[in-house]
Protein backbone atom coordinates (compact mmCIF):
# COMPACT_ATOMS: atom_id res chain seq x y z
CA UNK A 1 0.00 0.00 0.00
CA UNK A 2 1.57 3.31 -0.98
CA UNK A 3 1.92 5.74 1.87
CA UNK A 4 2.82 9.30 1.06
CA UNK A 5 1.62 12.75 1.93
CA UNK A 6 2.70 15.14 -0.85
CA UNK A 7 1.70 18.64 0.18
CA UNK A 8 3.05 20.29 -2.98
CA UNK A 9 2.85 18.48 -6.33
CA UNK A 10 3.96 19.92 -9.67
CA UNK A 11 4.43 23.37 -8.20
CA UNK A 12 0.89 23.57 -6.79
CA UNK A 13 -0.81 22.81 -3.51
CA UNK A 14 -2.10 19.24 -3.56
CA UNK A 15 -5.47 17.78 -2.58
CA UNK A 16 -3.89 16.02 0.37
CA UNK A 17 -2.72 19.31 1.88
CA UNK A 18 -6.29 20.61 2.03
CA UNK A 19 -7.56 17.29 3.38
CA UNK A 20 -4.89 17.45 6.08
CA UNK A 21 -5.96 20.94 7.16
CA UNK A 22 -9.61 19.86 7.18
CA UNK A 23 -8.76 16.76 9.25
CA UNK A 24 -6.91 18.88 11.82
CA UNK A 25 -9.77 21.38 12.04
CA UNK A 26 -12.24 18.53 12.44
CA UNK A 27 -10.22 17.04 15.28
CA UNK A 28 -9.96 20.45 16.98
CA UNK A 29 -13.73 20.78 16.78
CA UNK A 30 -14.17 17.23 18.07
CA UNK A 31 -12.00 17.94 21.12
CA UNK A 32 -13.90 21.17 21.79
CA UNK A 33 -17.23 19.33 21.58
CA UNK A 34 -16.15 16.55 23.92
CA UNK A 35 -13.98 18.35 26.46
CA UNK A 36 -15.69 21.72 26.92
CA UNK A 37 -18.23 22.27 29.65
CA UNK A 38 -19.48 25.65 28.49
CA UNK A 39 -22.23 25.09 25.93
CA UNK A 40 -20.99 27.99 23.80
CA UNK A 41 -17.60 26.29 23.59
CA UNK A 42 -19.36 23.20 22.26
CA UNK A 43 -21.09 25.42 19.69
CA UNK A 44 -17.68 26.80 18.62
CA UNK A 45 -16.49 23.21 18.17
CA UNK A 46 -19.48 22.46 15.96
CA UNK A 47 -18.68 25.50 13.81
CA UNK A 48 -15.10 24.25 13.40
CA UNK A 49 -16.39 20.83 12.31
CA UNK A 50 -18.80 22.38 9.80
CA UNK A 51 -16.00 24.50 8.33
CA UNK A 52 -13.80 21.44 7.98
CA UNK A 53 -16.65 19.74 6.10
CA UNK A 54 -17.03 22.68 3.70
CA UNK A 55 -13.28 22.71 3.10
CA UNK A 56 -13.40 19.02 2.16
CA UNK A 57 -16.31 19.61 -0.23
CA UNK A 58 -14.49 22.53 -1.86
CA UNK A 59 -11.18 20.64 -2.13
CA UNK A 60 -12.80 17.61 -3.78
CA UNK A 61 -14.72 19.90 -6.12
CA UNK A 62 -11.57 21.80 -7.06
CA UNK A 63 -9.35 18.78 -7.65
CA UNK A 64 -11.86 16.13 -8.65
CA UNK A 65 -12.50 17.45 -12.13
CA UNK A 66 -16.14 18.50 -11.96
CA UNK A 67 -17.86 18.95 -15.33
CA UNK A 68 -17.70 22.50 -16.62
CA UNK A 69 -21.41 22.76 -17.42
CA UNK A 70 -24.64 21.14 -16.34
CA UNK A 71 -25.65 19.53 -13.07
CA UNK A 72 -22.73 19.14 -10.71
CA UNK A 73 -20.59 21.84 -12.25
CA UNK A 74 -20.92 23.94 -9.10
CA UNK A 75 -21.46 21.15 -6.59
CA UNK A 76 -18.71 22.33 -4.24
CA UNK A 77 -19.71 25.97 -3.71
CA UNK A 78 -23.42 25.11 -3.64
CA UNK A 79 -22.83 22.48 -0.96
CA UNK A 80 -20.87 25.10 0.96
CA UNK A 81 -23.68 27.63 0.65
CA UNK A 82 -26.23 25.14 1.97
CA UNK A 83 -23.96 24.16 4.85
CA UNK A 84 -23.57 27.84 5.76
CA UNK A 85 -27.37 28.31 5.64
CA UNK A 86 -27.91 25.34 7.95
CA UNK A 87 -25.12 26.54 10.24
CA UNK A 88 -26.91 29.88 10.56
CA UNK A 89 -30.16 28.08 11.46
CA UNK A 90 -28.34 25.89 13.96
CA UNK A 91 -26.57 28.83 15.60
CA UNK A 92 -29.82 30.80 15.96
CA UNK A 93 -31.75 27.92 17.54
CA UNK A 94 -28.83 26.88 19.73
CA UNK A 95 -28.42 30.43 21.03
CA UNK A 96 -32.15 30.60 21.78
CA UNK A 97 -31.93 27.34 23.71
CA UNK A 98 -28.84 28.52 25.58
CA UNK A 99 -30.47 31.82 26.56
CA UNK A 100 -33.55 30.07 27.82
CA UNK A 101 -31.34 27.63 29.76
CA UNK A 102 -29.52 30.60 31.25
CA UNK A 103 -32.78 32.25 32.28
CA UNK A 104 -33.94 29.05 33.95
CA UNK A 105 -30.76 27.69 35.51
CA UNK A 106 -28.44 30.70 35.66
CA UNK A 107 -25.64 28.83 33.91
CA UNK A 108 -24.68 27.32 30.56
CA UNK A 109 -22.28 24.72 31.97
CA UNK A 110 -23.61 21.48 30.53
CA UNK A 111 -22.47 19.49 33.57
CA UNK A 112 -24.74 21.36 35.95
CA UNK A 113 -27.92 21.07 33.89
CA UNK A 114 -29.56 17.77 34.78
CA UNK A 115 -33.25 18.28 34.30
CA UNK A 116 -35.59 19.37 31.55
CA UNK A 117 -37.69 21.65 33.77
CA UNK A 118 -36.90 23.91 36.67
Amino acid sequence: MPSQLPLITNGAVSLQAYLLVAALLFVFGLVACMARRNAIGILIGIELILNAAILNFMAFWHYGGAPLTGQGALAGPLMGVFVIILAACEAAVALAILLSLYFNFGTVEVDSIHQMKE
Binding site: L15, V27, I44, E47, G65, L78, G80, A88
Partner: protein, 171 residues
Protein backbone atom coordinates in the same frame (compact mmCIF):
# COMPACT_ATOMS: atom_id res chain seq x y z
CA UNK B 1 2.09 31.97 -14.39
CA UNK B 2 5.11 31.04 -12.30
CA UNK B 3 4.62 33.94 -9.91
CA UNK B 4 0.91 33.15 -9.62
CA UNK B 5 1.73 29.60 -8.56
CA UNK B 6 4.32 30.78 -6.04
CA UNK B 7 1.82 33.30 -4.71
CA UNK B 8 -0.83 30.60 -4.37
CA UNK B 9 1.53 28.36 -2.42
CA UNK B 10 2.66 31.21 -0.20
CA UNK B 11 -0.95 32.21 0.40
CA UNK B 12 -1.82 28.62 1.25
CA UNK B 13 0.89 28.39 3.90
CA UNK B 14 0.02 31.77 5.39
CA UNK B 15 -3.68 30.92 5.58
CA UNK B 16 -2.87 27.48 6.98
CA UNK B 17 -0.77 28.97 9.76
CA UNK B 18 -3.55 31.44 10.58
CA UNK B 19 -6.35 28.88 10.47
CA UNK B 20 -4.61 26.17 12.48
CA UNK B 21 -3.25 28.54 15.13
CA UNK B 22 -6.53 30.37 15.68
CA UNK B 23 -8.51 27.12 15.37
CA UNK B 24 -6.40 25.60 18.13
CA UNK B 25 -7.02 28.62 20.34
CA UNK B 26 -10.75 28.47 19.53
CA UNK B 27 -10.87 24.83 20.54
CA UNK B 28 -8.54 24.77 23.54
CA UNK B 29 -8.57 28.24 25.14
CA UNK B 30 -9.89 28.18 28.69
CA UNK B 31 -11.42 31.63 28.34
CA UNK B 32 -14.55 31.39 26.22
CA UNK B 33 -14.30 35.03 25.07
CA UNK B 34 -10.81 34.36 23.72
CA UNK B 35 -12.10 31.26 21.94
CA UNK B 36 -14.91 33.18 20.26
CA UNK B 37 -12.57 35.98 19.13
CA UNK B 38 -10.12 33.43 17.81
CA UNK B 39 -12.87 31.76 15.80
CA UNK B 40 -13.13 35.06 13.90
CA UNK B 41 -9.66 34.56 12.40
CA UNK B 42 -10.33 30.90 11.64
CA UNK B 43 -13.47 31.80 9.68
CA UNK B 44 -11.66 34.58 7.79
CA UNK B 45 -8.88 32.14 6.88
CA UNK B 46 -11.46 29.66 5.60
CA UNK B 47 -12.75 32.39 3.27
CA UNK B 48 -9.19 32.68 1.97
CA UNK B 49 -9.13 28.94 1.27
CA UNK B 50 -12.34 29.22 -0.73
CA UNK B 51 -10.74 31.93 -2.90
CA UNK B 52 -7.71 29.68 -3.50
CA UNK B 53 -10.04 26.79 -4.35
CA UNK B 54 -11.82 28.82 -7.00
CA UNK B 55 -15.10 30.11 -5.58
CA UNK B 56 -15.26 33.82 -4.88
CA UNK B 57 -18.98 33.62 -4.09
CA UNK B 58 -18.54 31.12 -1.26
CA UNK B 59 -15.71 33.22 0.20
CA UNK B 60 -17.88 36.35 0.31
CA UNK B 61 -20.81 34.33 1.68
CA UNK B 62 -18.54 32.99 4.39
CA UNK B 63 -17.42 36.47 5.39
CA UNK B 64 -20.93 37.94 5.37
CA UNK B 65 -22.90 35.12 7.00
CA UNK B 66 -20.33 33.34 9.16
CA UNK B 67 -18.20 36.25 10.29
CA UNK B 68 -20.88 38.91 10.14
CA UNK B 69 -23.79 36.82 11.39
CA UNK B 70 -23.05 33.57 13.17
CA UNK B 71 -19.97 34.87 14.97
CA UNK B 72 -21.79 37.99 16.17
CA UNK B 73 -24.56 35.70 17.43
CA UNK B 74 -21.97 33.59 19.25
CA UNK B 75 -20.41 36.69 20.80
CA UNK B 76 -23.85 37.80 21.98
CA UNK B 77 -24.30 34.39 23.54
CA UNK B 78 -20.92 34.59 25.24
CA UNK B 79 -21.50 38.06 26.61
CA UNK B 80 -25.08 37.37 27.71
CA UNK B 81 -24.32 34.16 29.54
CA UNK B 82 -20.76 34.67 30.79
CA UNK B 83 -20.31 35.11 34.50
CA UNK B 84 -16.94 35.90 36.02
CA UNK B 85 -17.66 33.39 38.78
CA UNK B 86 -17.59 30.53 36.32
CA UNK B 87 -13.88 30.61 35.60
CA UNK B 88 -12.61 27.16 34.79
CA UNK B 89 -10.63 25.76 37.66
CA UNK B 90 -6.98 25.84 36.73
CA UNK B 91 -4.76 22.86 37.25
CA UNK B 92 -7.51 20.30 37.48
CA UNK B 93 -7.06 18.09 34.46
CA UNK B 94 -10.21 16.06 34.53
CA UNK B 95 -10.37 12.51 33.33
CA UNK B 96 -12.86 13.20 30.58
CA UNK B 97 -10.50 15.74 29.03
CA UNK B 98 -7.91 12.97 28.73
CA UNK B 99 -10.56 10.70 27.24
CA UNK B 100 -11.54 13.33 24.70
CA UNK B 101 -7.90 13.94 23.76
CA UNK B 102 -7.25 10.20 23.35
CA UNK B 103 -10.36 9.68 21.24
CA UNK B 104 -9.63 12.68 19.04
CA UNK B 105 -5.99 11.61 18.66
CA UNK B 106 -7.06 8.17 17.46
CA UNK B 107 -9.52 9.84 15.05
CA UNK B 108 -6.69 12.01 13.69
CA UNK B 109 -4.47 8.95 13.20
CA UNK B 110 -7.21 7.18 11.24
CA UNK B 111 -7.83 10.27 9.09
CA UNK B 112 -4.09 10.72 8.41
CA UNK B 113 -3.80 7.07 7.41
CA UNK B 114 -6.73 7.42 5.01
CA UNK B 115 -5.41 10.65 3.50
CA UNK B 116 -1.92 9.21 3.04
CA UNK B 117 -2.85 5.82 1.61
CA UNK B 118 -6.04 6.33 -0.43
CA UNK B 119 -5.82 6.53 -4.20
CA UNK B 120 -7.33 9.96 -4.75
CA UNK B 121 -8.78 10.48 -8.21
CA UNK B 122 -7.33 13.88 -9.06
CA UNK B 123 -8.11 15.55 -12.36
CA UNK B 124 -5.17 16.65 -14.51
CA UNK B 125 -6.40 20.23 -14.55
CA UNK B 126 -7.95 21.61 -11.35
CA UNK B 127 -10.77 24.11 -11.65
CA UNK B 128 -9.45 27.59 -12.30
CA UNK B 129 -10.35 30.61 -10.20
CA UNK B 130 -13.31 32.22 -11.94
CA UNK B 131 -16.38 34.32 -11.25
CA UNK B 132 -19.01 31.97 -9.85
CA UNK B 133 -21.70 34.43 -8.80
CA UNK B 134 -23.77 34.34 -12.00
CA UNK B 135 -23.63 30.53 -12.51
CA UNK B 136 -24.49 29.93 -8.85
CA UNK B 137 -27.45 32.28 -9.09
CA UNK B 138 -28.68 30.51 -12.21
CA UNK B 139 -28.15 27.08 -10.65
CA UNK B 140 -30.00 28.01 -7.44
CA UNK B 141 -33.07 29.08 -9.40
CA UNK B 142 -33.06 26.19 -11.88
CA UNK B 143 -31.49 22.84 -11.00
CA UNK B 144 -31.25 23.45 -7.27
CA UNK B 145 -34.63 25.17 -6.84
CA UNK B 146 -36.06 22.58 -4.42
CA UNK B 147 -33.12 22.62 -1.98
CA UNK B 148 -33.07 26.41 -2.24
CA UNK B 149 -36.73 26.72 -1.27
CA UNK B 150 -36.34 24.12 1.47
CA UNK B 151 -33.41 26.09 2.88
CA UNK B 152 -35.57 29.21 2.90
CA UNK B 153 -38.34 27.30 4.69
CA UNK B 154 -35.84 25.95 7.22
CA UNK B 155 -34.56 29.47 7.90
CA UNK B 156 -38.13 30.69 8.48
CA UNK B 157 -38.90 27.78 10.83
CA UNK B 158 -35.68 28.39 12.77
CA UNK B 159 -36.49 32.07 13.10
CA UNK B 160 -39.97 31.31 14.44
CA UNK B 161 -38.64 28.56 16.71
CA UNK B 162 -35.86 30.72 18.13
CA UNK B 163 -38.27 33.60 18.78
CA UNK B 164 -40.68 31.17 20.47
CA UNK B 165 -37.96 29.70 22.69
CA UNK B 166 -36.77 32.99 24.15
CA UNK B 167 -40.15 34.73 24.48
CA UNK B 168 -41.21 36.11 27.85
CA UNK B 169 -43.38 33.53 29.54
CA UNK B 170 -46.79 34.65 30.73
CA UNK B 171 -46.99 34.18 34.45
Amino acid sequence: METLQHGTILGFWLITALVLASGAVAAFARNIVQAAFSLFFTLLGMAGYYVLLGSDFLAVTQVIIYVGGILVLLMFGVLLTNRPLERAQRGTLRLYVLGAAAGAGLMLLVLLRIIATAQWRVAAEPIAISATVRPIGLALLSGYLLPFELAGLTLLLCLVGAAYLVRRKER
